[in-house]
Every structure is written in structure tokens, then in C-alpha cells.
């Protein structure tokens, strides 16, 4: 490893612009003639639209256009879709209700977009939006998924009878039921995974620009995957054919899943630009984000975990109801199915598993992938149940887990996944050592003296990353392939551009991807530019989510680098009159191994472009493309241990120690990997202690700003003790597993296990806010 190569702790190249205020986000974009949009949104969770009167709004100062869903439909703009087909266990396809970008007949959640107003200024657009007069007939609303399945619940979509989108299963029901029947012990729990709002700090935004002369559209949007946005907007929403639509996702201020999906606003801004003849910019305010960004989680499950007399798990039966909100968001159906039930084996050797999942419409914001997407729900369910089982069985939580660990690889679980590599014991040992697990009893005794309750909890998580290979996800219902692309362009002077289909919105690709090139060719990372986020510049790519940019995106770069290297060596061999097989690349030069004969990298590149002296039949230039489709998911895993102290008088929980021991496979830049873990843990701790989206019974979102939705702040968190002990991933050329979601997946059960340990209870609802914890403590002390 060089100082800028693979494994080096290189400071980020992209930081310069961010720390000097020169980042370029969508809201920073200005196009000549650009005007501003405001949306009129439904104030009701469920209502029929009787009448929309835009007359007064159209006459307001500065107003350029006031457009409705009927006009949008008349222009042939299509409904939003969910791109992953799930079939119910009776063989019927999922029941997808219509989602018009602008509602025209019915609204189904508070925030549903109904009218767009375009005006000279944002203030004028909002003034006019208030003047739009909509007559609604309110309908009964339902926000709770189990209640939406009751006979008395209001029908939200005609297409989904009883609000049931699908009733799906995975695994062997007969074998699992038999295991439970024969068990020496069965642990049973009801597990609720609370609804979260992703809250990337940059609110969603879109700028649509229709160029009449060229009949061409440009969309600047806050997207994790601009190519997918273009594909979907072309193929399904009829905005424009792909060759006439350019999607640019410039600097994007965090995504966490919420910016994967194509939302109504970007479609409408493009359409409205054509309708009004001006470029149209919309930027969400924070409350709009709370109301309309896809939310995460929101599962209600029951679980039965069966053990034999030796405390080995013999079966796991899970029944889950997943709240999908008012509409099926782009990848919503994959989250509680193939990203969830397939991970229910955890790190454990479980012979029989059965999961049943019912997806349900409610009058709430759509729910889709949020950091971890399905895997946090699986991990929370399993690791809470393991903890309870250990307490019921009277054994150490660590040893119960260790006894059931999978120890040989590859391992085929009963729920599709084939784990390729791992060492779960190593992570558990590392975490127990780092947390001084053995010294906990003494620390607890000290805390008792100070009037505090102290608890410790662990969580051994596994996740599946990369979200690939394409053929596999295709067979499971995915509407797209999940490969990644790369193009490596070596310029005539030897500098390099890497065009990647991955998209960086905080992950540091401009640095880590350049490190990969440096490792291979010795070119300084300053001479390597990473180009991403623009469909006009970069070949088709699938974007960044599911911790896939390393395992899949960088693997594509490796494949392109392989091709570049092969050609470079051919050119060098020709110039050096040597055998191609004898050429090695060292210190920025191509050398004949074992001699001092060499040609510097830049000279080889120049030779490729002057083309004066190339091997016979070789094309000039040095530019290669690769599309990489992995052979399997990757399986990062690890062990997290959380230690808390609770003030019984107030219910305040302090995280006194948080330890993470992860296995991410090989690592390109440890500094960036650590940053990913820190951020993931903060979001997981946020879920456990602070965050929760709450609707009242009428469907009003009570937590629609930071006044009521508790974002993790610096003083809510400790510094984290993190480490890695890595087993390389055999499934990709770099041995990378991925690290983007682990923190958010592994931490919630560790925190809740610690809190329930401290209080001496079985369960507590997330977020375990001070009032919730206080009430739980009081319940234990009251008769």
C-alpha cells in the first residue's frame, strides 16, 4: 500500500469545496429565467377532491402558472410505480394502487401533492398556493397497519381490497411449526419497529428545465441514482424519451435511502417547465420533507424462536405486518420481503425458518428503504428475541449466541441467502474485550451506589449488501438489473478520469475510487478525477444504496482498470521491445521485470494517443468500460455492545459506552469506513432512543418538524469505540463487503437490550425516550 493506495487513511479530495462553501447542491443551481414552485398539499389524510378553484391564485402577483393533476393526466404523464414485483402466497401479484404525481380525484395522506404554483419568487408562489381553493370531502383515515387490515377500516385504494397489498411468505412453514412443537423452550415476543423519517440534512429539491428549441429536458435533482431516475421518468412516467432527458444529481446532501426513489416533484417540475415555458425550481422546506419523504421501518411482528434442550435454535417463525403508507414507493415491496425475511437467520445456524409478511396501505407517507432497509428490522427482531431467550433460559447472552453461530462457510440458510465468509466469534470476542464485558458487574455496582441503573446489551448483526446479482434479483421480482458500470479514461498526459455509475452523497467516492487507481497505476490521486451524477457524462449506472458502491461500483472500476492495464502493458511492451507478460507497473512506470528498462506512465499514455508507434492493429487511445455484475450479495457482520446508565428519577438514558466490532472485508480507506460506522450508529441510536414518526388517529403527522421529531444531537451521543476484524469477501475482486448501513442495523437492539437489562424488563418501545423509560421503571416499582 502506498500513501495514497488501497488501505491508506487518505484525507478526502472533495472536502475542499465543502469546507469553503463551494459545494454545489441543487438549491445552489441557477438557470437564466428560472422561477420558483410551491405545492398545494392535502391537509387531510383521506379525502375526495370535489373541486379545485385556481382562479384567484392565477391572478396573484408574480404567478406564471397554476397547474393541476387533470392537466398532468391529459398530457399523458404516468402514475408512479413500485419497481419490484412481489407475489402473494396464493400466486396473485401485489395490488398496486394508482399514484398520480398530482392527486386529482382523491388524496390519501397529509402532504399528497394536489396543485403546483409557479411564480417569480418563492414567496409569491407560496402566497398564491394559499389562494388555491380546494373543496374536499373528508373520509375516515387509518394510520396503523394492523388496524388497516380490520374489516371496519376505510378502503384506501380500490385496487387493494382490505388495504392488503400482498400476503407473502418465505421458508418452510411445516418444518418450522414442527420445530416449535418439539421444542424444549420457545421464546415468544411481539416486536415493533418504529417508523422513522430519514432526514438527510439537504431537503429534497428539483429544478426542471425544458429547452423548447431542442425539445430537451434537464433535471437537477437530489438523487442517489440519476440514471435510474432518468430510466423511470422516461419509461414509466412519459416525461421524455431517455435521449431527450438529462438528469443531474450534483452534490447531494445525504440520502440514507430517501433519495433513491423518484418522487412526484421532479416529474412535475419537468412537466411544469414545458407547460409554463420557464425553468422551474422547487426546494422542500423541512416540514414538507417530513410529510413527503419516504419514511422507513414501521413493522409490527410476532416471533417464536424454538430451542432444543441444549439451547440450540431449532426453528424461527415470524409474522410481520409492514406499513407501506398511502402509495407504493419505488422499491417499497422489496424492503420487508427480500431485504428482510432473507436475513432472518442472522448469524445463526437455524434449520427451519418461516416468515409471513403482509404489506398494508395506510393514510400515511409512503414507506420505503431507509439506511439498512429491511435488515435493521430483521436484526432488531432476532437480536431482541435472542436476548429475551437468554434471560428466559438463564444463560449468558454472549454464550447463547456463540453456541448458535454459523462457523463454516459457505453456509446456505433456509431463507435464500448463501453466506460466503465470516468469523462471528471473532467480532463477538473483539467487542467483549473492547467493552470490558467482564468488568460490567463492578461498573453496575458502582452505578447503583450513585443511584443509577446500569445495563449492558449486545447485538450480533448480519446484513446482505451490494443488492445483486442481477439475475438473482430479477428472479425475485426486481424490475431493474443491479450491476454497476465504470469507464476509465486515461488522458494523453496520463491523468485519469473515472466515470462511475455510483453516486456519492457523502461517502467519499472521489477519494476512495481514486485510491484504487493509485494502487494500480501509481498515478497520484490528484491526477485522478471521479465523474459521477450526470446522465450526459456517465454511461448507464445503477447508483448508490445498499452499501454497494464499494462491493459493486468499485469492482466495476477494477474490471475497467484490468482492461486499461492490459492495453497499457501491450503498448509498453511494444515500446520497450519486450514481452507483454514481462511488463510490471511500479512507481508510475511500466517496467520490464528484473531490468531497468521502463517507460513512464505518461509516455505510454501519450503513445496511445499520438498513435505513431502502436502494436500492429491496435486502436489508438486508452479508454475502457466495464459493467460488473457480482456473483452474490456480500455479508458484512459484526457485534455491537452498548452500555447505558439510566437516571431512575427522570428516565434519562445515557449511553456510557458504545462498542462496534465489524467485519467489512477488505477496506480501501479506514478513515472513511470509520465515518460510515459512526454515522450509522448515530442513526441506530437515534431510532432506539430518540426518533419516531407519530401520526394522530386522523392522520396528522405530529412530528413534522425538529420541534417534535428528535434528531440525534452531539450531546445525545458518546464517542464510539470501533474496530474491525475482517474476513475478505470471496465474491468480488476487492474482497469488499460494504460498510454504509451496518451501524444503523446493528445498534438499535444493542441499545434496547441494554435498557431492558438495566430496568429488568422484557421489552420497551422505541424510541425509549425519557418519559417512556420513566414510565417503564415506575411500572416495575408499582405493585
Amino acid at each position: 500500500m502506498g500513501i495514497e493506495g488501497v488501505g491508506a487513511r487518505v484525507a478526502r479530495k472533495e472536502d475542499k469545496r465543502f469546507i469553503t462553501g463551494a459545494g454545489r447542491y441543487v438549491d445552489d443551481m441557477v438557470v437564466p429565467g428560472m422561477k420558483h414552485a410551491a405545492f398545494v398539499r392535502s391537509p387531510h389524510a383521506h379525502a375526495q377532491i370535489k373541486k379545485i378553484d385556481v382562479k384567484k391564485a392565477k391572478a396573484m402577483p408574480g404567478v406564471i402558472g397554476v397547474l393541476t393533476g387533470k392537466e398532468l393526466k391529459a398530457d399523458g404523464i404516468g402514475n408512479l410505480i413500485c419497481g419490484w414485483m412481489i407475489h402473494s402466497k396464493d400466486g396473485t401479484p401485489m395490488k398496486m394502487g394508482a399514484w398520480s404525481p398530482l392527486a386529482f380525484d382523491k388524496v390519501r395522506y397529509v402532504g399528497d401533492a394536489v396543485v403546483i404554483v409557479v411564480a417569480e419568487t418563492k414567496g409569491q408562489a407560496r402566497d398564491a398556493a394559499e389562494a388555491v381553493d380546494i373543496t374536499y370531502k373528508e373520509l375516515k383515515a387509518v394510520v396503523d397497519a394492523p388496524k388497516a387490515l380490520e374489516r371496519s377500516a376505510p378502503q384506501i385504494h380500490l385496487e387493494a381490497d382490505g388495504n392488503l397489498i400482498f400476503d407473502w411468505e418465505l421458508g418452510d412453514s411445516t418444518a418450522t411449526n414442527a420445530a416449535i412443537k418439539a421444542a424444549a423452550h420457545v421464546t415468544r415476543m411481539k416486536i415493533v419497529n418504529n417508523r422513522l423519517v430519514p432526514n438527510a440534512m439537504e431537503p429534497r429539491a428539483a429544478l426542471g428545465h425544458y429547452d423548447k428549441a431542442e425539445d430537451h429536458y434537464t433535471c437537477w435533482t437530489t438523487s442517489q441514482n440519476p440514471h435510474v431516475a432518468r430510466l423511470v421518468m422516461s419509461a414509466f412516467y412519459n416525461v421524455a424519451p431517455e435521449n431527450k432527458l438529462r438528469v443531474i444529481a450534483p452534490d447531494v446532501g445525504g440520502g440514507f435511502g430517501s433519495k433513491i426513489f423518484i418522487y412526484p416533484e421532479e416529474i412535475i417540475c419537468l412537466w411544469a417547465s414545458k407547460k409554463t415555458g420557464v425553468p422551474v425550481k422547487w426546494v422542500a422546506d423541512r416540514t414538507e420533507s417530513f410529510l413527503t419523504d419516504a419514511h422507513g421501518r414501521d413493522h409490527v411482528s410476532t416471533v417464536e424462536m424454538a430451542f432444543d434442550k441444549d439451547n440450540r435454535i431449532t426453528g424461527l417463525k415470524v409474522d410481520t405486518i409492514a406499513n407501506f403508507g398511502a402509495y407504493m414507493s419505488l422499491f417499497s415491496s422489496s424492503v420487508p420481503t427480500y431485504l428482510y425475511a432473507t436475513l432472518l437467520s442472522g448469524q445463526y445456524d437455524i434449520p427451519a425458518i418461516h416468515a409471513n409478511v403482509r404489506a398494508v396501505y395506510t393514510n400515511t407517507a409512503p414507506v420505503d428503504a431507509y439506511r439498512g432497509a429491511g435488515r435493521p428490522e430483521a436484526t432488531y427482531l432476532l437480536e431482541r428475541t435472542m436476548e429475551t431467550a437468554a434471560r428466559e433460559l438463564g444463560v449468558s447472552p454472549a454464550e447463547l449466541r456463540r453456541k448458535n453461530f454459523i462457523t463454516s462457510f459457505p453456509h446456505q440458510t433456509p431463507v435464500i441467502m448463501n453466506y460466503d465468509a465470516g468469523d462471528y466469534g471473532a467480532s463477538l470476542d473483539a467487542a467483549m474485550k473492547a467493552s470490558d464485558y467482564a468488568g460490567f458487574a463492578k461498573r453496575k455496582a458502582d452505578a447503583v451506589k450513585r443511584g443509577k441503573l446500569r445495563g449492558i446489551g449486545m447485538s450480533c448483526y448480519i446484513e446482505a449488501c451490494g443488492i445483486a446479482p442481477s439475475a438473482a434479483v430479477g428472479s425475485l421480482g426486481a424490475g431493474v438489473g443491479l450491476w454497476e458500470s465504470a469507464e476509465v479514461r486515461v488522458n494523453a498526459v496520463g491523468t485519469i478520469e473515472v466515470l462511475t455509475g455510483s453516486h456519492s452523497h457523502g461517502q467519499g467516492h472521489e477519494t476512495t475510487f481514486a485510491q484504487l487507481v493509485n494502487e494500480r497505476f501509481g498515478v497520484p490521486i490528484d491526477s485522478v478525477s471521479i465523474v459521477h451524477g450526470d446522465t450526459d457524462k456517465v454511461q448507464m449506472g445503477m447508483g448508490t444504496y445498499g452499501s454497494r458502491s464499494g462491493a459493486v461500483g468499485m469492482s466495476a472500476i477494477v474490471k475497467a482498470l484490468d482492461k486499461v492495464e492490459a492495453k497499457a502493458k501491450k503498448i509498453a511492451a511494444h515500446l520497450l521491445e519486450a514481452d507483454e507478460g514481462d511488463i510490471v507497473i511500479e512507481n508510475g512506470a511500466l517496467k520490464v521485470a528484473g531490468t531497468d528498462k521502463n517507460v513512464p506512465w505518461f509516455q505510454m499514455a501519450l503513445a496511445a494517443y499520438t498513435a505513431h508507434n502502436l502494436p500492429g492493429g491496435m486502436e489508438p487511445g486508452l479508454k475502457e468500460t466495464a459493467f460488473y455484475d457480482p456473483s452474490n450479495f456480500t455479508f458484512p457482520a459484526g457485534c455491537y455492545i452498548c452500555e447505558v446508565e439510566i437516571d431512575p428519577e427522570t428516565g434519562v438514558t445515557e449511553i456510557v459506552q458504545f462498542v462496534a466490532a465489524d467485519d467489512f472485508g477488505n477496506i480501501i480507506n479506514p478513515m472513511i469506513v470509520e465515518g460510515q460506522v459512526h454515522g450509522g450508529i448515530a442513526q441506530g441510536v437515534g431510532q432506539a432512543l430518540l426518533e419516531g414518526a407519530h401520526y394522530d388517529a386522523s392522520g396528522q403527522l405530529l412530528t413534522a418538524s425538529y420541534m417534535d421529531y428528535t434528531m440525534p444531537r452531539a450531546d445525545d451521543l458518546p464517542s464510539f469505540k470501533i474496530s474491525t476484524s475482517n474476513t475478505p469477501c470471496p465474491g468480488n475482486p476487492l474482497g469488499i463487503k460494504g460498510c454504509g448501513e451496518a451501524g444503523a442495523i446493528g445498534s438499535p437492539p444493542a441499545v434496547i437490550n441494554a435498557i431492558t437489562d438495566a430496568i429488568g424488563i422484557t421489552d420497551i418501545a422505541m424510541p425509549a425516550s425519557p418519559s417512556t423509560v420513566w414510565a417503564a421503571i415506575r411500572a416495575t416499582t408499582k405493585h
Binding site: G123, G651, L690, D708
Partner: protein, 265 residues
């Protein structure tokens, strides 16, 4: 935000004239008013900015008498060396309002004129038996805070200062709403020459109030242990997503005990 006309007053006299125009509102730090205007919950036609009026700024301590100009920022109150000696509890309380950037702008006058039921100053002023001085009259704190976002101020009346006699002992303990960081419960205890006063913010369904039960117990003995048997009633306390009335009642007792301990330290 709706359209608005801004006026910067150079003196209280000028402000008093300007405030008569249209549906004008006084603007000091703007830390509550501007967010309310942004969300279109407040829609004044005019704003009269008091924040640059020199005569409204600064902390004066003369013997036991403390006078704080209405446009003095929370930061200036929190960091005033004279106040830290005369009434450290109030300086400490000011350091707990909002965050550093908010404290640089928000003012004592703005906070009490707004009388948010979760604001900190109302508890302090009520417990300190402070006097609110306006351009028209002087109003005792006990008469000033009349309900949720309601005060005894008349239309166009401008708070110019707050004055009180420094107590022998005082402290403020605040339990924050985890999201907004406003007080779910804030308890200010003060032991002055006229006895013990305990004021509670963040909890009452009609705004800041004095807890007579706690005052009675502490009058007997100004020690945390004196509160051991005191049951705070949940009646007339707010209940919301973050805290039930029962929880608030518990916190009032806990914060009061901690405040007494801090005051005695």
C-alpha cells in the same frame, strides 16, 4: 413569510410611535417571532426593531438590585460578570436557553413579552419576584404572566427593563424536551428576604405558575429532603407527545429537589 414592513427604532420613544402603525409587532431578537412568521403563523404588517436601542441594553447591578435592559441578549446575561456574582442562578438559566447562536440574538424582553409556556425566563422572574418595567408603568411578575402566550402588556406597550432584588439563594433546573430543547419542566427556586418562591415553566396548562406546595415545604426547611413527602399533582399540567402530565408532575418534584441542592451548594 407574508410581506412585512420593517422599521428600525433608534429610541423607545420612536418605537412607541412606530408601533402604532397598522398591525405592527415589536421585534427584538426575533428568535420566536421570525420562525412564527416563516411558517405564516404570525403575520404582522409592520415590524419595529428594538434590538439596536442602546438604552435597552445591558445589565446593571447596584447593591442587591439587578436591572437588565429588555434588549439584553441571553448571551450577555449569561456572561455578565456582575450578574454571575449577584445572581448566578439567572446567568446560568440564560446559558440554558436555546443554543449559542440563539443566545446571541434572543433577548430577555422578547422572551417575556412572548411568554411561551415552555420558556425559561418567566419561571425565573416569577420566582425572583421581579418587576417588569415598561415605557408606561411597572408590573410585578406575579401579575405580568397571565396565560399561554398572554401577558399584562397593553397594545403598544414596550418592556424596557426587568429589575429584581438578588436573592440569598437561587437555582434553576431544566429538563429539556428532547426534540425542541425547550423546557418540559423548568423549576426556579429562590430564597429571598420575603421567603421562598418556586416557579415552574414548561408544565402548566396555563403557563408559568408558582408551586405553593413546594414553597410551603421549602419555607419550613430549604433542603432537598424537605421535598421528600411532597406530592406534586398532575392536575392542570400539560400532556403531549413528549411528556404526560404524570411525568411532568414527577419532574417538577425532581427538578425542584435538584434546584434546592444546587442553590445550597
Amino acid at each position: 413569510m407574508y410581506s412585512v414592513n420593517y422599521h428600525r427604532a433608534a429610541s423607545v420613544t420612536e418605537a412607541a410611535k412606530l408601533i402604532k402603525s397598522g398591525d405592527a409587532k415589536l421585534l427584538s431578537g426575533g428568535m420566536t417571532l421570525i420562525p412564527a412568521m416563516k411558517t405564516r403563523l404570525a403575520a404582522p404588517s409592520d415590524l419595529v426593531d428594538l434590538s439596536r436601542i442602546k438604552e435597552l441594553q445591558g445589565v446593571k447591578v447596584s447593591g442587591k438590585t439587578v436591572t437588565i435592559g429588555a434588549a439584553t441578549t441571553h448571551y450577555d446575561v449569561a456572561s455578565d460578570e456582575k450578574l454571575k456574582k449577584a445572581c448566578p442562578a439567572l446567568a446560568h438559566m440564560a446559558s440554558l436557553i436555546g443554543d449559542p447562536a440563539v443566545r446571541h440574538k434572543g433577548t430577555i424582553g422578547g422572551s417575556i413579552a412572548n411568554n411561551d409556556p415552555a420558556a425559561d425566563y418567566p419561571a425565573a422572574l416569577l420566582a425572583l419576584d421581579a418587576t417588569i418595567v415598561t415605557n408606561k408603568r411597572e408590573i410585578a411578575a406575579g401579575k405580568f404572566f397571565t396565560g399561554l402566550f398572554e401577558t399584562a402588556l397593553k397594545d403598544g406597550e414596550i418592556i424596557t427593563a426587568v429589575t429584581f432584588t438578588a436573592p440569598a439563594k437561587a437555582a434553576y433546573e431544566k429538563f429539556r424536551n428532547p426534540a425542541s430543547r425547550y423546557a418540559i419542566v423548568g423549576v426556579f427556586v429562590a430564597k429571598g428576604k420575603d421567603g421562598v418562591r418556586v416557579a415552574v415553566t414548561g408544565a402548566g396548562d396555563d403557563g408559568v405558575f408558582r408551586s405553593k406546595d413546594i414553597e410551603a415545604a421549602l419555607t419550613k426547611s430549604f433542603m432537598a429532603a424537605a421535598l421528600d413527602g411532597v406530592k406534586v399533582s398532575a392536575k392542570n399540567l400539560m400532556s403531549d407527545l413528549h411528556a404526560s402530565a404524570d411525568y411532568r408532575a414527577n419532574l417538577i418534584a425532581v427538578m425542584a429537589k435538584r434546584a434546592v441542592t444546587a442553590a445550597n451548594a
